[in-house]
Amino acid sequence: MPSTTEKTPRRGTVQRPGDRVFAGASTGAGITILAILAGVAAFLVIEAWPALWASDEEMPDGEGLVLYVWPLLFGTLISATFALLIATPFAVAIALFISHYAPRRVAVTLGYLIDLLAAVPSIIFGLWGAAELAPLTVEPTQWLADNLGFIPLFEGPASATGRTMLVASMVLAVMILPITTAVVREAFLQTPRLHEEASLALGATRWEMIRMAVLPFGRSAIIGGAMLGLGRALGETMAVAIVLSGSAGVTFNIIGSGNPSSIAANIALRFPESSGLDINVLIASGLVLFAVTLFVNMGARAVINRRRDFSGAN
């Protein structure tokens, strides 16, 4: 037995070795994560520096850094946005089903299965997307191009292989589903029982109860979960690199062969055979992604903090 527990408790603030060790360890861990973040930022800036000051002719496409990174940033943002649009309603519905509709045993099993999705490596999702999901979308997207071609998103011509922005967004949506669902579900489960029972007692149906008591309470969690998912979707590399046919610049057509690639996927594809300034350019694009992710997360935090007062939790 450790000797410290045998002593009788004393009054006053006595510092035992355990206190000091624990305080030191946790402070150290906190400082380390900050140092790592600063280190990564410094690495990106230092490595990107030559690319930031190089002349336009030296760039890979001879058009300058901004024109090189912009389509990639656009591709990153549009794929992540569509992923979010697909995944968030799904995640909220699944979370509601688990927390308020499903029988207990089904809810536990389903929650477990959703969490399991998070453990699947992204490259598996990528291979599944390219080999299974993409061919399945060829005919539906052809139909979309024929019948809804007046909408810029479905302008076409439709891809013959299905390796489109639409499929990339769907794969990303599946990938961010577990994290978003988990956050939202936990919040829904914590809805105060009194709120729920009060609204039911006032004659609300179950749907009205959910709308009036559960959803307002979980609103900040929905935003928080979605933003966590967005963070993952922005940085996802392998799945996008495998699924997406990134061969064109900025376009809103999400069912064609030519799509803007994403920053992370472009780095993964180009890095192995690059040398010299090309590497600096790739890292400069990484710096942009780093800044965007930071910005998105800070924005999400601000939104959550602002909403906290109205969440009904207090």
């Binding site: 993409a134 891809s159 292989t161 495998i242 061969s247 062969s257 594809l269 040398s275």
Partner: protein, 375 residues
């Protein structure tokens, strides 16, 4: 219980120590190319059996499969030798070779003038540059019911430049009177990653069909809006899964798909290892380079019957003179094996490359024989 714990701890410590010593001894050898050194060289041209030490190389990923085969074969014959090859890319391989980080390198392009000067300086003399890996690039397509098509260079360029957009285009139909062509849209598939395959394919198009192909040779695909896929396997997969697709890929991976017979002169040639190797025979050596520098300006526009001009030629880089004899012996032994009929056959079996002709191997052998130590 206590006993068991002590025993596992002892085992753990011993294995950790073994690991540490193994790692450190490996580190010493790396780069320097063998601290224990071999005694017999490969002057006779036959693989030496008393070589020992380790040899590090890096470079083109296209050669990776072939290098793996060569390493296995060479290490079988010389059990005390460890050869490593890091498929870091052609550019990285040339950089590391010039910086002296690796003893040999693989590269999809021969050294340009600036690099050549730097490499000569690194070697303290002449650089040895040999086209050790020749691989046909197949033009593959997926069109139900059609197994092969005759296409001229102009037509291929037009298709990949997205000027010819349907399979029943007159340009395609004219060369294939017996084939019934559907009006399916053509989806050209290209590599999404930077690649030597792309560089050689675009080099071919730029050299043979400059009118239909207004782009320069480059390892990044120059045309926007096609279907882009990662790696050879990605291209093959994209071509397989779509209808009306056409792409280019290492011939060894092209099985099961329709292949293009490429127009050479008045005829159409199907890809084969022999036809690919034949291109080197009709090509000229690049001028103004050293005696042991076999850099070839490929005769893409050859009209010689039986040649297949869409090939990837990847070079092996080494020095004619190394600082220490041990490294020189290892490099010489390794390149001897690569050029030997067994070595070329091993690469053909595993990587689907085209074995060098006996005549060319004979020429290259002189350069390998020249490898020695400066001291």
């Amino acid at each position: 219980m206590r006993n068991w714990r002590a025993r596992t701890a002892a085992i753990a410590v011993v294995s950790a120590l073994a690991l540490v010593t193994a790692c450190s001894s490996e580190n010493e050898d790396e780069g320097s190319g063998g601290s224990s050194g071999g005694t017999s060289g490969g002057d006779s041209g036959s693989p030496a059996s008393e070589l020992s030490g380790s040899l590090a190389g890096a470079g083109a990923s296209s050669q990776d499969a072939a290098q793996q085969a060569w390493m296995a074969g060479f290490q079988d014959a010389n059990p005390d030798v460890t050869v490593t090859y890091d498929p870091a890319g052609s550019g990285a391989g040339r950089e590391q070779f010039i910086a002296g980080g690796v003893a040999f390198a693989g590269s999809d392009a021969y050294l340009d003038e600036e690099e050549l000067a730097a490499a000569n300086e690194r070697c303290g003399g002449e650089v040895v540059e040999l086209p050790i890996y020749v691989s046909p690039i197949a033009v593959i397509f997926n069109l139900p019911g059609v197994e092969s098509l005759n296409l001229s260079a102009e037509t291929i360029a037009g298709i990949f430049n997205q000027q010819i957009t349907t399979w029943n285009d007159d340009a395609i139909a004219a060369d294939n009177p017996e084939v019934e062509l559907p009006d399916t849209a053509i989806t050209p598939v290209n590599r999404a990653d930077d690649s030597g395959t792309t560089e050689n394919f675009t080099d071919y198009l730029a050299a043979v069909a400059p009118d239909a192909w207004p782009h320069e040779a480059s390892d990044v695909w120059p045309v926007e809006g096609g279907e882009a896929a990662q790696g050879t396997s990605g291209v093959v997969q994209a071509v397989t899964s779509g209808e009306g697709t056409i792409g280019y890929a290492d011939a060894s991976q092209a099985s099961g798909l329709g292949t293009v017979h490429v127009g050479v002169g008045d005829q159409f040639t199907e890809y084969s290892p022999e036809a690919a190797a034949a291109v080197l025979e009709v090509s000229e050596r690049a001028e103004g380079r050293g005696e042991h520098d076999f850099a070839f300006d490929l005769a893409r526009e050859t009209t010689e019957a039986g040649t297949y001009p869409i090939v990837l030629v990847s070079y092996g880089l080494a020095c004619a003179a190394y600082d220490d004899a041990a490294t020189a012996d290892l490099v010489q032994g390794y390149f001897n094996y690569i050029l030997s009929p067994e070595g070329q056959q091993a690469a053909a079996d595993t990587a689907g490359s085209a074995p060098l002709s006996a005549d060319l191997s004979q020429q290259f052998q002189a350069a390998v024989d020249a490898i020695g130590s400066a001291a």
